[in-house]
Amino acid sequence: MKTPQRALLLVGSPKSGASASSSLGTYLLEELEKRGLQTETVGLVKALRAEEATEALHTAVAAADLVVLSFPLYVDSLPAPVIRALELIAARRADLPAAAGDKPAFVAICQCGFPEAEHNEVALEICRNFAAAAGFAWAGGLGMGAGGMTGGRPLREIRGRMRAAVGALDLSAAELAAGRPLPDEAVRLMAKPAFPAFAYRLIANRGWRSDLKKQGATAPLDARPFA
């Protein structure tokens, strides 16, 4: 890995507003910026909406020497639009002549709604395979459980609750800025539960019932409309 000058954050959340993926990725990008890197952020769903936006995505990827992908876990894998974007990026890079020198680095951050970070492992493996296929140097992946606890808010506003994640991203920024891959300690910290799993399940399950009422749903949570 070379010492990066320009970092690109790819936000893989299909949500239109604030998201945990954006919170985590933006914090890392800000920490990289503090260390002198130029930064840019592209939302992948938006980038797929029009040819012009997709071209802008390719241009941003080509200009970066560190790419950070931050996304939510969808059915044990990456959300479909993120896969689509990676397919397009890999196809474009396959058409390019091999660049001289070090490959740009690729890092992934995956968070899920389950309390255990282990659910993210296969998705991060897919990211590592993508990096190899698309000519990036794999610099590591961070997996986080209970990602919804960020509420899509900036991590700096909720540092206490997200202490471990902030620590993981601080460590990651320091190493990546120096041209080194993610340290094991960052991976461990990011996977550290912010909350005991049983308490998280209890709160989440109450939350679903509360949301059902707020939405004015006429069917119960366990309805079987297609039985």
Binding site: S13, P14, K15, S16, V45, P72, Y74, V75, D76, S77, L78, P79, A80, P81, I83, R84, L86, E87, A90, F114, P115, E116, E118, H119, V122, A123, E125, I126, C127, N129, F130, A132, A133, A197, F198, Y200, R201, A204, N205, W208, D211, L212, K214, Q215, A217, A219, P220, L221, D222, A223, R224, P225, F226, A227
Partner: protein, 213 residues
């Protein structure tokens, strides 16, 4: 393994282009299911306009069990709920499913309930329906990479999916893109036997082997 009597299979056809090996696999799957007396809902996804799942959770808390978006994505849960066997057909893409398939699979969550329950060592969502869904996922990789990293990841992904869908039977199959017809048919029949569609049988005859060579 013994075959089930019959059932309903939902074939998520995630082919994005005219890959001849995937076409052969598709044909062998449809033939095998018909031979086993199964009804097949053969769903060619590339013909469908399905919006990306936005992760709004409306299918859990607004219209439980039904996607709030009115497009073919809503049909995923409806068709899945009436199926005994899910079959995924896809080019293996970085070890996962291609976007063409995944655009539909992201809409499968309405067949689960939102509650988080401890199941074994992990937390999972309970099934919404009592009907059990077996799972067969078949993917192709470039020639020579049948034992490569992407093929290994694909098998891990399918195994991971099986923990969430909780099928009685689950199989992941990977074939290389230069596989011939005989090889495809032998492999597909073996996988269909593993998920109970057809009884396990000996490989096709020598004539068939020669015809496919």
């Amino acid at each position: 393994m013994n075959a089930k009597e019959t059932g309903a299979a939902l074939l998520f056809d995630g082919r994005a282009d005219d890959d001849p090996t995937l076409a052969l696999i598709h044909e062998a799957l449809v033939d095998g299911l018909a031979a086993g007396g199964w009804a097949v809902d053969d769903w060619r996804l590339r013909d469908e306009k399905i919006a990306w799942c936005s992760g709004c959770f409306g299918c859990w808390v607004k219209t439980p069990g039904v996607c709030v978006h009115e497009d073919a994505g809503r049909d995923v849960a409806a068709r899945a709920a009436r199926s005994d066997l899910f079959i995924y057909l896809t080019p293996v893409t970085f070890g996962g499913y291609a976007a063409e398939l995944k655009k539909a699979l992201d809409h499968v969550i309405p067949i689960l309930q939102p509650d988080l329950k401890k199941t074994g060592a992990d937390t999972r969502h309970p099934q919404r329906y009592e009907r059990n869904h077996d799972l067969l996922a078949v993917g192709t990789v470039p020639a020579g990479l049948g034992s490569g990293a992407e093929a290994r990841t694909f098998r891990r992904l399918v195994q991971r999916n099986s923990l969430n869908l909780q099928p009685l039977r689950c199989t992941a199959g990977v074939l290389e893109r230069d596989s011939g017809e005989w090889e495809v048919r032998v492999a597909v029949n073996a996988w269909l036997a593993e998920v109970g569609v057809v009884p396990a049988v000996a490989p096709p005859s020598l004539e068939m082997q020669e015809a496919g060579a």
